[in-house]
Subunit: 329 residues, 2 copies
């Protein structure tokens, strides 16, 4: 492993000149440049990022915090983040918190200790206080879930409006008993989507029945299935279900099938996110499309700007109701 010194010696120039060639500065004669390039080739030299990063006080690493990599919703966002990061000559450090504060802290240490230049947090369960304190000295962006009035820039969608539209649509096609499968109320998006659900019901003078609202402990399929079981235990069966994520909706769909019922004939169902799977279920799932890839792109862009000291504005991107088979008929 050659160092810049050996290259300098081999080329018969100073390390400064080698550095200049390395960084594409134009104050180097073509002749010298060639000499240096030859030496680099001959020695098979690769500049060490450890040295460069220490000198530049940067790591060019972005920390991406997600609760769970197995959730396809995050995969798509990460896609967007990574492509943008590469474009800007950054790389991403993927960190799964499993909604575990201790784990989270290990990752936060990475930025405290300068091993990461900034954070994109997508963990709804993140400790907001810690995050805000961290944001005083470090570049942080929130993606999807965010802390209101924290001063931390975020990129998200209008959750209340999206849920409102979904439920409004169910009402429009004739549903009067609409269940809600929501995640834990401690999450902002869960509260926002519930607000949209309630607003739609109220506007149509439909009663809000607590027995039709189920909160889950997690976002895996299994939680959706459990939630649907719970709904089936009520005296009156709803004619439609709105789930706040496709994963939950797909679990619910499974349970509806298990009960020998048909979607959408017996029960209609709407999900949220438009993950790839949602088009492979039978029937295909009506859902709210979130621009996941774009959210990732935007978050990465914003974070790098923030790292470079620019001010950045929060972003609310558009969503869309995608009507498919699970609400047809």
């Amino acid at each position: 492993m050659a160092t810049i010194h050996q290259v300098a010696k081999q080329a018969g120039v100073s390390v400064a000149t080698v550095s200049r060639v390395l960084n594409g500065q134009n104050s180097v004669t073509a002749k010298t440049r060639i000499k240096v390039e030859d030496a680099i080739k001959k020695l098979n030299y690769e500049p060490s990022l450890l040295g460069r990063n220490l000198r530049n006080s940067e790591s060019r690493l972005l920390l991406v915090l997600i609760p769970n990599i197995s959730n396809p919703f995050y995969s798509e966002i990460i896609n967007g983040i990574e492509n943008t990061a590469i474009e800007l000559d950054y790389n991403i450090l993927l960190c799964e918190t499993d909604t575990n504060a201790e784990r989270e802290n290990i990752y936060f240490d990475l930025v405290r200790k300068k091993m990461a230049d900034g954070i994109i947090s997508m963990d709804p369960a993140v400790n907001t206080d810690t995050l805000i304190r961290l944001a005083e000295n470090h570049a942080i962006i929130q993606c999807s879930e965010y802390a209101v009035d924290s001063g931390i820039p975020y990129v998200t969608i209008d959750n209340a409006e999206a849920a409102y539209r979904a439920v409004k649509y169910l009402i429009k096609i004739g549903h009067q008993q609409i269940a809600l499968i929501n995640s834990d109320k401690k999450y902002l998006y869960a509260r926002q989507r519930q607000l949209g659900y309630q607003k739609a019901l109220e506007e149509s003078n439909m009663e809000l029945e607590d027995s039709l609202i189920v909160h889950t402990q997690g976002l895996d399929f299994s939680y959706g299935q459990q939630a649907m079981k719970k709904i089936f235990m009520q005296k009156e069966r709803p004619t439609a279900v709105f789930a706040v994520s496709d994963m939950l909706a797909i679990g619910a769909l499974k349970e509806i099938h298990n009960q020998g019922l048909k979607v959408p004939e017996d029960i209609a169902i709407i999900g949220f996110d438009k993950i790839a799977f949602s088009n492979m279920t039978h029937p295909t799932l009506t859902t709210i499309s979130q621009p996941m890839y774009e959210m990732g792109e935007a978050a990465a862009d914003m974070l790098v700007k923030k790292i470079q000291g620019e001010e950045v504005e929060s972003l609310i991107l558009d969503h869309e109701l995608v009507i498919r088979e699970s609400t047809l008929g």
Copy 2:
């Protein structure tokens, strides 16, 4: 941002002593230790990993190479890798190649330039020559897909045997016309699984019909769906389908439904991987279970050992045939 010098000054000791306290060396008096710890607290000092890493010539980062983060098969493996890495005080740099050589090279540069201490490659499309050359100077482990006789340690399963068992089972329950939805033959696992398929047919004196073997260009649902369409265009319809991944199987299932046929009554179907979603389809999918989490753990363990200069042996883990509804009846 305090440095070790400021801490030393504040505590009235030398930087060496601070470093000793930081690294838990016991050659420090309790009294001095307290002084240093107080100074650290007072100055809110966090040791810079940039400095430490340069000094130690390591990054404590593991590069994880995957073709596509959206494939749940990889998510589970990454889970195992990350948990093990954290345990060993490493972090992971997640890199999606999109089966793109240029992109791949950007990531390889990260280890060439010392920003990563080693690589776990899960990309079946990785350039084997490049990888082997890189392995001369760097720690590399392959996971799932591997290069035969390359000298690069790997962790995988017995693909031929797994496919053999799946097809054997289909034959046992009475199927005589079994289609194979395979991915591109350029991948080792694809060739191995096809070998298992062929062996099972041969053992039962069943003819190998080229028209029943379809190769896909990718692993998304859509490719499985397309493949199934192709199979339906043949004169005789198979009574069973073996797909080399759950994603493909789920796409095929979709197309079978679209044709108005029933699974398993009209066509049985077996997938591969046992991704979470394979239990949410209707009917649930019979599949080969790969120990994905364990593969990730093993790969990370092996890589860190390799980084530390130990010799490591390749590993072939157990698989299992999981019989569910899609082959019942």
